[in-house]
Symmetry: C2
Subunit: 272 residues, 2 copies
Protein backbone atom coordinates (compact mmCIF):
# COMPACT_ATOMS: atom_id res chain seq x y z
CA UNK A 1 0.00 0.00 0.00
CA UNK A 2 1.36 3.44 -0.87
CA UNK A 3 1.52 6.36 1.51
CA UNK A 4 -1.17 8.23 -0.43
CA UNK A 5 -3.47 5.22 -0.30
CA UNK A 6 -2.94 4.93 3.45
CA UNK A 7 -3.71 8.62 3.97
CA UNK A 8 -6.84 8.30 1.83
CA UNK A 9 -8.01 5.39 3.98
CA UNK A 10 -7.42 7.34 7.17
CA UNK A 11 -9.41 10.29 5.87
CA UNK A 12 -12.23 8.08 4.63
CA UNK A 13 -12.56 6.10 7.86
CA UNK A 14 -11.77 9.13 10.04
CA UNK A 15 -9.51 6.86 11.95
CA UNK A 16 -5.80 6.22 12.38
CA UNK A 17 -6.42 3.15 14.50
CA UNK A 18 -4.22 0.08 14.23
CA UNK A 19 -5.45 -3.00 16.05
CA UNK A 20 -2.76 -5.25 17.48
CA UNK A 21 -3.59 -8.92 17.09
CA UNK A 22 -1.60 -10.14 20.10
CA UNK A 23 -3.86 -13.16 20.07
CA UNK A 24 -2.69 -15.18 23.05
CA UNK A 25 -4.50 -18.50 22.91
CA UNK A 26 -4.65 -18.63 26.72
CA UNK A 27 -6.59 -15.36 26.78
CA UNK A 28 -9.16 -15.81 24.03
CA UNK A 29 -12.75 -16.72 24.96
CA UNK A 30 -13.04 -20.37 25.96
CA UNK A 31 -15.96 -21.11 23.63
CA UNK A 32 -13.63 -20.59 20.65
CA UNK A 33 -11.40 -23.48 21.64
CA UNK A 34 -13.77 -25.92 19.95
CA UNK A 35 -12.86 -24.45 16.54
CA UNK A 36 -10.22 -26.13 14.40
CA UNK A 37 -8.09 -22.98 14.60
CA UNK A 38 -9.29 -20.99 17.62
CA UNK A 39 -6.82 -18.14 17.16
CA UNK A 40 -7.77 -17.59 13.53
CA UNK A 41 -11.45 -17.74 14.44
CA UNK A 42 -10.81 -15.15 17.17
CA UNK A 43 -8.91 -12.88 14.76
CA UNK A 44 -11.56 -13.26 12.08
CA UNK A 45 -14.35 -12.19 14.42
CA UNK A 46 -12.30 -9.27 15.75
CA UNK A 47 -11.50 -8.17 12.19
CA UNK A 48 -15.11 -8.54 11.02
CA UNK A 49 -16.30 -6.42 13.94
CA UNK A 50 -13.78 -3.62 13.47
CA UNK A 51 -12.74 -3.45 9.80
CA UNK A 52 -14.83 -0.37 9.06
CA UNK A 53 -13.17 1.64 11.86
CA UNK A 54 -9.57 0.41 11.85
CA UNK A 55 -7.15 1.28 9.06
CA UNK A 56 -4.43 -1.17 10.06
CA UNK A 57 -3.97 -4.54 11.77
CA UNK A 58 -0.77 -5.67 13.42
CA UNK A 59 -0.38 -9.34 14.31
CA UNK A 60 2.42 -9.77 16.82
CA UNK A 61 4.45 -12.75 15.60
CA UNK A 62 5.48 -13.89 19.09
CA UNK A 63 1.95 -14.99 19.94
CA UNK A 64 1.90 -17.20 16.84
CA UNK A 65 5.43 -18.59 17.06
CA UNK A 66 4.85 -19.72 20.62
CA UNK A 67 2.42 -22.28 19.16
CA UNK A 68 4.92 -23.53 16.56
CA UNK A 69 3.64 -24.79 13.21
CA UNK A 70 0.03 -24.42 14.35
CA UNK A 71 0.64 -20.81 15.27
CA UNK A 72 2.31 -20.08 11.96
CA UNK A 73 -0.76 -21.54 10.22
CA UNK A 74 -2.99 -19.17 12.20
CA UNK A 75 -0.77 -16.28 11.13
CA UNK A 76 -0.95 -17.31 7.47
CA UNK A 77 -4.71 -17.58 7.59
CA UNK A 78 -4.99 -14.23 9.36
CA UNK A 79 -2.95 -12.31 6.79
CA UNK A 80 -4.81 -14.04 3.94
CA UNK A 81 -8.07 -12.98 5.52
CA UNK A 82 -6.84 -9.42 5.97
CA UNK A 83 -5.66 -9.29 2.36
CA UNK A 84 -9.06 -10.38 1.09
CA UNK A 85 -11.29 -7.94 2.94
CA UNK A 86 -13.75 -6.01 0.74
CA UNK A 87 -11.85 -2.83 1.58
CA UNK A 88 -8.10 -3.23 1.92
CA UNK A 89 -6.37 -2.47 5.23
CA UNK A 90 -2.73 -1.74 6.03
CA UNK A 91 -1.06 -4.83 7.49
CA UNK A 92 1.93 -4.85 9.80
CA UNK A 93 3.89 -7.89 10.93
CA UNK A 94 5.09 -6.86 14.38
CA UNK A 95 8.16 -9.04 14.25
CA UNK A 96 11.04 -6.78 15.31
CA UNK A 97 13.47 -8.61 13.04
CA UNK A 98 16.91 -7.55 11.83
CA UNK A 99 20.10 -9.41 10.96
CA UNK A 100 23.03 -9.22 8.55
CA UNK A 101 22.09 -8.45 4.96
CA UNK A 102 21.54 -11.91 3.47
CA UNK A 103 19.49 -12.91 6.52
CA UNK A 104 17.37 -9.75 6.56
CA UNK A 105 16.58 -10.49 2.92
CA UNK A 106 15.13 -13.82 4.05
CA UNK A 107 13.03 -12.09 6.72
CA UNK A 108 11.80 -9.61 4.13
CA UNK A 109 10.81 -12.50 1.87
CA UNK A 110 9.05 -14.18 4.79
CA UNK A 111 6.85 -11.18 5.58
CA UNK A 112 6.53 -9.40 2.22
CA UNK A 113 6.41 -12.30 -0.22
CA UNK A 114 5.38 -15.45 1.62
CA UNK A 115 2.88 -13.74 3.93
CA UNK A 116 2.30 -10.56 1.90
CA UNK A 117 2.24 -8.03 4.74
CA UNK A 118 2.52 -4.35 3.85
CA UNK A 119 5.02 -3.65 6.60
CA UNK A 120 7.30 -5.25 9.15
CA UNK A 121 8.80 -3.83 12.34
CA UNK A 122 12.60 -3.88 12.57
CA UNK A 123 15.11 -3.53 15.40
CA UNK A 124 17.86 -1.08 14.43
CA UNK A 125 20.81 -2.32 16.52
CA UNK A 126 22.66 -4.02 13.64
CA UNK A 127 22.60 -0.93 11.44
CA UNK A 128 22.07 -0.12 7.79
CA UNK A 129 22.71 -3.47 6.12
CA UNK A 130 20.17 -5.07 8.45
CA UNK A 131 17.48 -2.61 7.32
CA UNK A 132 18.22 -1.97 3.64
CA UNK A 133 17.03 -5.39 2.39
CA UNK A 134 13.53 -4.56 3.62
CA UNK A 135 13.52 -1.43 1.46
CA UNK A 136 14.01 -3.33 -1.80
CA UNK A 137 10.38 -4.44 -2.02
CA UNK A 138 8.09 -2.16 -4.00
CA UNK A 139 5.04 -0.97 -2.08
CA UNK A 140 6.36 -2.42 1.20
CA UNK A 141 7.39 -0.67 4.40
CA UNK A 142 10.10 -1.01 7.03
CA UNK A 143 9.01 0.27 10.42
CA UNK A 144 12.09 0.92 12.52
CA UNK A 145 12.07 0.92 16.31
CA UNK A 146 13.10 4.37 17.48
CA UNK A 147 11.66 4.99 20.94
CA UNK A 148 9.71 2.12 22.43
CA UNK A 149 6.93 2.30 24.99
CA UNK A 150 8.36 -0.13 27.54
CA UNK A 151 10.27 0.63 30.74
CA UNK A 152 13.48 -0.93 29.39
CA UNK A 153 13.54 1.72 26.66
CA UNK A 154 15.51 3.87 29.07
CA UNK A 155 18.37 1.37 29.29
CA UNK A 156 19.87 2.19 25.90
CA UNK A 157 17.58 4.41 23.84
CA UNK A 158 18.37 7.46 25.98
CA UNK A 159 22.11 7.02 26.06
CA UNK A 160 23.65 10.34 25.02
CA UNK A 161 25.60 10.19 21.79
CA UNK A 162 28.72 12.20 22.61
CA UNK A 163 29.27 13.32 19.04
CA UNK A 164 25.71 14.31 18.14
CA UNK A 165 24.78 15.44 21.65
CA UNK A 166 21.48 13.68 21.47
CA UNK A 167 19.92 10.41 22.55
CA UNK A 168 20.54 7.11 20.81
CA UNK A 169 16.97 6.97 19.53
CA UNK A 170 17.51 10.35 17.88
CA UNK A 171 20.71 9.12 16.26
CA UNK A 172 18.79 6.10 15.02
CA UNK A 173 16.22 8.37 13.38
CA UNK A 174 18.73 10.83 11.98
CA UNK A 175 21.03 8.21 10.50
CA UNK A 176 18.37 5.90 9.17
CA UNK A 177 15.94 8.40 7.68
CA UNK A 178 17.93 8.58 4.46
CA UNK A 179 18.22 4.81 4.04
CA UNK A 180 14.76 4.95 2.55
CA UNK A 181 12.11 7.62 2.13
CA UNK A 182 8.91 8.58 3.91
CA UNK A 183 7.22 6.43 1.26
CA UNK A 184 8.79 3.19 2.53
CA UNK A 185 9.90 3.82 6.12
CA UNK A 186 8.04 4.53 9.33
CA UNK A 187 9.21 4.70 12.94
CA UNK A 188 7.91 3.22 16.18
CA UNK A 189 7.53 5.88 18.85
CA UNK A 190 5.84 4.86 22.07
CA UNK A 191 2.82 6.83 23.26
CA UNK A 192 4.32 6.81 26.74
CA UNK A 193 7.00 9.18 25.44
CA UNK A 194 4.70 11.69 23.73
CA UNK A 195 6.75 14.64 25.01
CA UNK A 196 9.48 13.44 22.65
CA UNK A 197 7.25 13.55 19.60
CA UNK A 198 7.73 17.27 19.04
CA UNK A 199 11.48 16.81 18.72
CA UNK A 200 11.09 13.73 16.55
CA UNK A 201 8.87 15.69 14.17
CA UNK A 202 11.74 18.13 13.63
CA UNK A 203 13.87 15.29 12.28
CA UNK A 204 11.18 13.51 10.30
CA UNK A 205 8.29 15.85 9.57
CA UNK A 206 6.84 13.66 6.85
CA UNK A 207 7.32 10.09 8.03
CA UNK A 208 4.47 8.09 9.45
CA UNK A 209 4.88 7.09 13.08
CA UNK A 210 3.51 3.85 14.51
CA UNK A 211 2.55 4.65 18.08
CA UNK A 212 1.97 1.82 20.56
CA UNK A 213 1.36 2.19 24.27
CA UNK A 214 -2.06 3.87 24.36
CA UNK A 215 -4.18 2.49 27.18
CA UNK A 216 -2.64 -0.37 29.21
CA UNK A 217 0.81 1.13 28.97
CA UNK A 218 -0.38 4.60 29.94
CA UNK A 219 -0.09 6.65 26.76
CA UNK A 220 -2.47 9.51 26.07
CA UNK A 221 -4.10 9.80 22.65
CA UNK A 222 -4.58 13.56 22.73
CA UNK A 223 -0.97 14.18 23.63
CA UNK A 224 0.16 11.87 20.85
CA UNK A 225 -2.00 13.67 18.30
CA UNK A 226 -0.95 17.09 19.54
CA UNK A 227 2.75 16.45 19.12
CA UNK A 228 2.84 13.66 16.56
CA UNK A 229 0.33 14.52 13.88
CA UNK A 230 1.37 16.29 10.71
CA UNK A 231 -0.63 17.70 7.80
CA UNK A 232 -0.98 14.22 6.31
CA UNK A 233 -2.11 12.85 9.73
CA UNK A 234 1.19 10.93 9.87
CA UNK A 235 0.39 8.62 12.77
CA UNK A 236 -0.99 5.16 13.24
CA UNK A 237 -1.96 4.57 16.86
CA UNK A 238 -2.02 0.98 17.98
CA UNK A 239 -4.15 -0.61 20.64
CA UNK A 240 -3.97 -4.33 21.28
CA UNK A 241 -5.13 -5.86 24.55
CA UNK A 242 -7.67 -3.15 25.41
CA UNK A 243 -9.53 -3.91 22.22
CA UNK A 244 -9.10 -7.60 21.57
CA UNK A 245 -9.52 -8.66 25.18
CA UNK A 246 -12.18 -6.10 26.11
CA UNK A 247 -14.30 -9.10 27.00
CA UNK A 248 -13.34 -12.73 27.36
CA UNK A 249 -16.92 -13.91 26.94
CA UNK A 250 -19.08 -14.62 23.90
CA UNK A 251 -19.57 -10.89 23.35
CA UNK A 252 -15.83 -10.34 22.81
CA UNK A 253 -16.14 -9.09 19.21
CA UNK A 254 -18.95 -6.71 20.09
CA UNK A 255 -16.96 -5.36 23.06
CA UNK A 256 -13.86 -5.08 20.89
CA UNK A 257 -15.85 -3.00 18.42
CA UNK A 258 -17.12 -0.78 21.23
CA UNK A 259 -13.60 -0.12 22.45
CA UNK A 260 -12.30 0.46 18.90
CA UNK A 261 -15.19 2.82 18.27
CA UNK A 262 -14.44 4.72 21.47
CA UNK A 263 -10.94 5.37 20.13
CA UNK A 264 -12.13 6.11 16.59
CA UNK A 265 -14.52 8.78 17.87
CA UNK A 266 -11.64 10.45 19.69
CA UNK A 267 -9.53 10.18 16.54
CA UNK A 268 -12.22 11.71 14.37
CA UNK A 269 -12.22 14.79 16.61
CA UNK A 270 -8.43 14.96 16.50
CA UNK A 271 -8.35 14.70 12.70
CA UNK A 272 -10.60 17.78 12.50
Amino acid sequence: MTKQELIAKIRKKKSFLCIGLDSDISKIPKHLLKHEDPVFEFNKQIIDATQDIAVAYKPNTAFYESRGVEGWKSLEKTIQYLNNLPESVFTIADAKRGDIGNTSTQYAKAFFEKLNFDAVTIAPYMGSDSVLPFLQFKGKWAILLALTSNSGASDFQFITDEERKNSLFESVIQKSKNWGTNENMMYVVGATKSEMLEKIREYIPNHFLLVPGIGAQGGNLEEVAKYGMNKEIGILVNSSREIIFASKEKDFAEKARAEALRLQIQMEKLIK
Copy 2:
Protein backbone atom coordinates in the same frame (compact mmCIF):
# COMPACT_ATOMS: atom_id res chain seq x y z
CA MET B 1 22.47 -27.49 29.00
CA THR B 2 24.52 -26.08 31.87
CA LYS B 3 27.75 -24.15 31.46
CA GLN B 4 29.76 -26.98 32.99
CA GLU B 5 28.20 -29.49 30.62
CA LEU B 6 29.03 -27.26 27.67
CA ILE B 7 32.63 -26.89 28.79
CA ALA B 8 32.92 -30.66 29.27
CA LYS B 9 31.69 -31.19 25.72
CA ILE B 10 34.18 -28.71 24.33
CA ARG B 11 37.04 -30.43 26.15
CA LYS B 12 35.91 -33.88 25.08
CA LYS B 13 35.47 -32.97 21.41
CA LYS B 14 38.48 -30.61 21.45
CA SER B 15 36.25 -28.22 19.57
CA PHE B 16 34.37 -25.02 20.18
CA LEU B 17 32.75 -25.13 16.78
CA CYS B 18 29.16 -24.06 16.22
CA ILE B 19 27.68 -24.84 12.83
CA GLY B 20 25.18 -22.34 11.51
CA LEU B 21 22.28 -23.99 9.73
CA ASP B 22 21.47 -21.08 7.40
CA SER B 23 19.83 -23.64 5.16
CA ASP B 24 18.68 -21.60 2.18
CA ILE B 25 16.56 -23.91 0.03
CA SER B 26 17.82 -22.17 -3.12
CA LYS B 27 21.41 -23.11 -2.23
CA ILE B 28 21.12 -26.72 -1.14
CA PRO B 29 22.15 -29.48 -3.58
CA LYS B 30 19.53 -29.99 -6.24
CA HIS B 31 19.29 -33.77 -5.77
CA LEU B 32 17.77 -33.17 -2.32
CA LEU B 33 14.74 -31.41 -3.77
CA LYS B 34 13.07 -34.76 -4.42
CA HIS B 35 12.76 -35.36 -0.67
CA GLU B 36 9.54 -34.52 1.12
CA ASP B 37 11.38 -31.97 3.25
CA PRO B 38 14.59 -31.07 1.40
CA VAL B 39 15.83 -28.62 4.03
CA PHE B 40 15.44 -31.10 6.87
CA GLU B 41 17.14 -33.79 4.79
CA PHE B 42 20.00 -31.36 4.11
CA ASN B 43 20.31 -30.46 7.80
CA LYS B 44 20.15 -34.11 8.85
CA GLN B 45 23.00 -35.08 6.56
CA ILE B 46 25.10 -32.08 7.63
CA ILE B 47 24.47 -32.93 11.29
CA ASP B 48 25.23 -36.63 10.81
CA ALA B 49 28.50 -35.75 9.10
CA THR B 50 29.68 -33.27 11.73
CA GLN B 51 28.15 -34.17 15.09
CA ASP B 52 31.36 -35.65 16.49
CA ILE B 53 33.33 -32.45 15.82
CA ALA B 54 30.81 -29.67 16.45
CA VAL B 55 29.59 -28.81 19.94
CA ALA B 56 26.75 -26.55 18.86
CA TYR B 57 24.31 -26.02 16.01
CA LYS B 58 22.62 -22.74 15.22
CA PRO B 59 19.65 -22.75 12.84
CA ASN B 60 19.00 -19.23 11.59
CA THR B 61 15.25 -18.75 11.80
CA ALA B 62 15.06 -16.39 8.79
CA PHE B 63 15.87 -19.18 6.36
CA TYR B 64 12.94 -21.21 7.75
CA GLU B 65 10.40 -18.40 8.10
CA SER B 66 10.91 -17.39 4.49
CA ARG B 67 9.26 -20.70 3.59
CA GLY B 68 6.27 -20.14 5.87
CA VAL B 69 4.57 -23.12 7.51
CA GLU B 70 6.76 -25.56 5.54
CA GLY B 71 9.87 -23.82 6.79
CA TRP B 72 8.67 -23.88 10.37
CA LYS B 73 8.10 -27.63 9.98
CA SER B 74 11.69 -28.05 8.80
CA LEU B 75 12.85 -26.08 11.85
CA GLU B 76 10.80 -28.26 14.21
CA LYS B 77 12.16 -31.44 12.67
CA THR B 78 15.71 -30.10 12.82
CA ILE B 79 15.61 -29.23 16.51
CA GLN B 80 13.94 -32.56 17.30
CA TYR B 81 16.71 -34.32 15.44
CA LEU B 82 19.38 -32.31 17.26
CA ASN B 83 17.76 -33.06 20.61
CA ASN B 84 17.79 -36.79 19.92
CA LEU B 85 21.40 -37.26 18.88
CA PRO B 86 23.28 -40.01 20.75
CA GLU B 87 25.48 -37.32 22.28
CA SER B 88 23.72 -34.07 23.10
CA VAL B 89 24.78 -30.84 21.43
CA PHE B 90 24.19 -27.21 22.39
CA THR B 91 21.40 -25.74 20.30
CA ILE B 92 20.95 -22.07 19.46
CA ALA B 93 17.96 -20.48 17.74
CA ASP B 94 19.53 -17.57 15.90
CA ALA B 95 16.38 -15.49 15.99
CA LYS B 96 17.49 -12.05 17.24
CA ARG B 97 14.17 -11.50 18.98
CA GLY B 98 13.24 -8.97 21.67
CA ASP B 99 10.06 -7.09 22.54
CA ILE B 100 8.18 -5.75 25.56
CA GLY B 101 7.98 -8.16 28.48
CA ASN B 102 4.77 -10.09 27.77
CA THR B 103 5.82 -10.53 24.15
CA SER B 104 9.36 -11.64 24.95
CA THR B 105 7.81 -14.26 27.22
CA GLN B 106 5.99 -15.62 24.18
CA TYR B 107 9.22 -15.71 22.17
CA ALA B 108 10.94 -17.51 25.05
CA LYS B 109 8.12 -20.07 25.07
CA ALA B 110 8.43 -20.47 21.30
CA PHE B 111 12.13 -21.31 21.41
CA PHE B 112 12.61 -22.85 24.85
CA GLU B 113 9.37 -24.77 25.33
CA LYS B 114 7.76 -25.40 21.97
CA LEU B 115 11.03 -26.03 20.10
CA ASN B 116 13.26 -26.85 23.09
CA PHE B 117 16.39 -24.97 22.05
CA ASP B 118 19.09 -24.39 24.67
CA ALA B 119 19.59 -20.78 23.68
CA VAL B 120 18.18 -17.93 21.63
CA THR B 121 19.88 -14.81 20.30
CA ILE B 122 18.36 -11.49 21.38
CA ALA B 123 18.59 -7.90 20.15
CA PRO B 124 19.20 -5.51 23.08
CA TYR B 125 17.66 -2.27 21.81
CA MET B 126 14.48 -2.49 23.91
CA GLY B 127 16.38 -2.97 27.19
CA SER B 128 16.00 -5.03 30.32
CA ASP B 129 12.33 -6.02 30.21
CA SER B 130 12.83 -7.35 26.68
CA VAL B 131 15.61 -9.67 27.88
CA LEU B 132 14.59 -10.72 31.39
CA PRO B 133 11.75 -13.06 30.30
CA PHE B 134 14.32 -15.24 28.53
CA LEU B 135 16.22 -15.65 31.79
CA GLN B 136 13.30 -17.25 33.64
CA PHE B 137 13.78 -20.66 32.00
CA LYS B 138 15.95 -23.10 33.92
CA GLY B 139 18.86 -24.47 31.93
CA LYS B 140 18.24 -22.06 29.05
CA TRP B 141 20.39 -19.24 27.72
CA ALA B 142 19.88 -15.72 26.38
CA ILE B 143 22.59 -14.71 23.91
CA LEU B 144 22.59 -10.94 23.61
CA LEU B 145 23.91 -9.08 20.57
CA ALA B 146 26.82 -6.92 21.69
CA LEU B 147 29.12 -6.30 18.72
CA THR B 148 28.00 -7.82 15.47
CA SER B 149 30.18 -8.86 12.54
CA ASN B 150 28.41 -6.91 9.78
CA SER B 151 29.37 -3.58 8.26
CA GLY B 152 26.26 -1.87 9.67
CA ALA B 153 27.55 -2.59 13.18
CA SER B 154 29.39 0.72 12.98
CA ASP B 155 26.17 2.73 12.55
CA PHE B 156 25.09 2.50 16.18
CA GLN B 157 27.19 0.02 18.15
CA PHE B 158 30.19 2.36 18.22
CA ILE B 159 28.28 5.48 19.22
CA THR B 160 30.12 6.96 22.19
CA ASP B 161 28.10 7.00 25.39
CA GLU B 162 28.80 10.46 26.79
CA GLU B 163 28.29 9.39 30.38
CA ARG B 164 30.26 6.16 30.37
CA LYS B 165 32.80 7.32 27.79
CA ASN B 166 32.62 4.08 25.92
CA SER B 167 30.86 2.61 22.92
CA LEU B 168 27.22 1.60 22.91
CA PHE B 169 28.11 -2.08 22.64
CA GLU B 170 30.19 -1.74 25.80
CA SER B 171 27.27 -0.08 27.60
CA VAL B 172 25.08 -2.95 26.45
CA ILE B 173 27.49 -5.45 28.00
CA GLN B 174 28.07 -3.49 31.19
CA LYS B 175 24.40 -2.83 31.88
CA SER B 176 23.09 -6.22 30.90
CA LYS B 177 25.67 -8.47 32.48
CA ASN B 178 23.91 -8.35 35.82
CA TRP B 179 20.45 -9.10 34.41
CA GLY B 180 21.49 -12.74 34.50
CA THR B 181 24.69 -14.62 35.22
CA ASN B 182 27.40 -16.25 33.17
CA GLU B 183 25.38 -19.43 33.64
CA ASN B 184 22.43 -18.16 31.58
CA MET B 185 23.75 -15.33 29.42
CA MET B 186 26.22 -15.18 26.55
CA TYR B 187 27.12 -12.37 24.14
CA VAL B 188 27.52 -12.20 20.38
CA VAL B 189 30.85 -10.64 19.43
CA GLY B 190 31.79 -10.70 15.76
CA ALA B 191 35.10 -12.25 14.73
CA THR B 192 35.65 -9.27 12.45
CA LYS B 193 36.10 -7.15 15.58
CA SER B 194 38.59 -9.41 17.38
CA GLU B 195 40.67 -6.42 18.52
CA MET B 196 37.73 -5.52 20.76
CA LEU B 197 37.70 -8.89 22.49
CA GLU B 198 40.45 -7.99 24.94
CA LYS B 199 38.43 -5.07 26.26
CA ILE B 200 35.23 -7.09 26.34
CA ARG B 201 36.97 -9.73 28.45
CA GLU B 202 37.67 -7.06 31.08
CA TYR B 203 33.93 -6.52 31.48
CA ILE B 204 32.85 -10.14 31.26
CA PRO B 205 35.77 -12.45 31.99
CA ASN B 206 33.57 -15.48 32.61
CA HIS B 207 30.76 -15.25 30.07
CA PHE B 208 30.73 -17.39 26.97
CA LEU B 209 30.96 -15.46 23.72
CA LEU B 210 29.28 -16.60 20.52
CA VAL B 211 31.57 -15.49 17.71
CA PRO B 212 30.26 -15.35 14.13
CA GLY B 213 32.11 -13.96 11.15
CA ILE B 214 34.96 -16.46 10.71
CA GLY B 215 35.60 -17.16 7.03
CA ALA B 216 33.26 -15.44 4.55
CA GLN B 217 33.04 -12.32 6.66
CA GLY B 218 36.81 -12.15 7.18
CA GLY B 219 37.32 -13.03 10.86
CA ASN B 220 40.49 -14.78 11.98
CA LEU B 221 40.23 -17.79 14.31
CA GLU B 222 43.65 -17.38 15.94
CA GLU B 223 42.98 -13.74 16.76
CA VAL B 224 39.61 -14.63 18.24
CA ALA B 225 41.14 -17.34 20.41
CA LYS B 226 44.03 -15.12 21.48
CA TYR B 227 41.82 -12.33 22.77
CA GLY B 228 38.55 -14.10 23.47
CA MET B 229 39.39 -17.37 25.18
CA ASN B 230 39.36 -17.68 28.93
CA LYS B 231 40.37 -20.49 31.27
CA GLU B 232 37.08 -22.26 30.63
CA ILE B 233 37.54 -21.81 26.85
CA GLY B 234 34.63 -19.36 26.91
CA ILE B 235 33.98 -19.10 23.18
CA LEU B 236 31.79 -20.77 20.62
CA VAL B 237 32.93 -19.92 17.11
CA ASN B 238 30.30 -20.16 14.42
CA SER B 239 30.75 -20.98 10.79
CA SER B 240 27.74 -21.29 8.48
CA ARG B 241 28.04 -20.97 4.73
CA GLU B 242 31.68 -22.13 4.49
CA ILE B 243 30.71 -25.44 6.04
CA ILE B 244 27.19 -26.18 4.89
CA PHE B 245 27.71 -24.96 1.33
CA ALA B 246 31.30 -26.22 0.95
CA SER B 247 29.92 -28.21 -1.97
CA LYS B 248 26.59 -27.98 -3.72
CA GLU B 249 26.92 -31.46 -5.19
CA LYS B 250 26.15 -34.92 -3.85
CA ASP B 251 29.31 -34.83 -1.75
CA PHE B 252 28.05 -31.82 0.25
CA ALA B 253 28.01 -33.60 3.62
CA GLU B 254 31.47 -35.03 3.12
CA LYS B 255 32.82 -31.62 2.11
CA ALA B 256 31.03 -30.00 5.04
CA ARG B 257 32.77 -32.46 7.35
CA ALA B 258 36.13 -31.68 5.76
CA GLU B 259 35.64 -27.96 6.34
CA ALA B 260 34.40 -28.50 9.90
CA LEU B 261 37.36 -30.78 10.57
CA ARG B 262 39.76 -28.16 9.24
CA LEU B 263 38.41 -25.72 11.81
CA GLN B 264 38.30 -28.32 14.59
CA ILE B 265 41.98 -29.17 14.06
CA GLN B 266 42.85 -25.48 14.43
CA MET B 267 40.66 -25.29 17.52
CA GLU B 268 42.32 -28.33 19.08
CA LYS B 269 45.68 -26.58 18.81
CA LEU B 270 44.26 -23.38 20.29
CA ILE B 271 42.68 -25.24 23.22
CA LYS B 272 46.12 -26.60 24.12
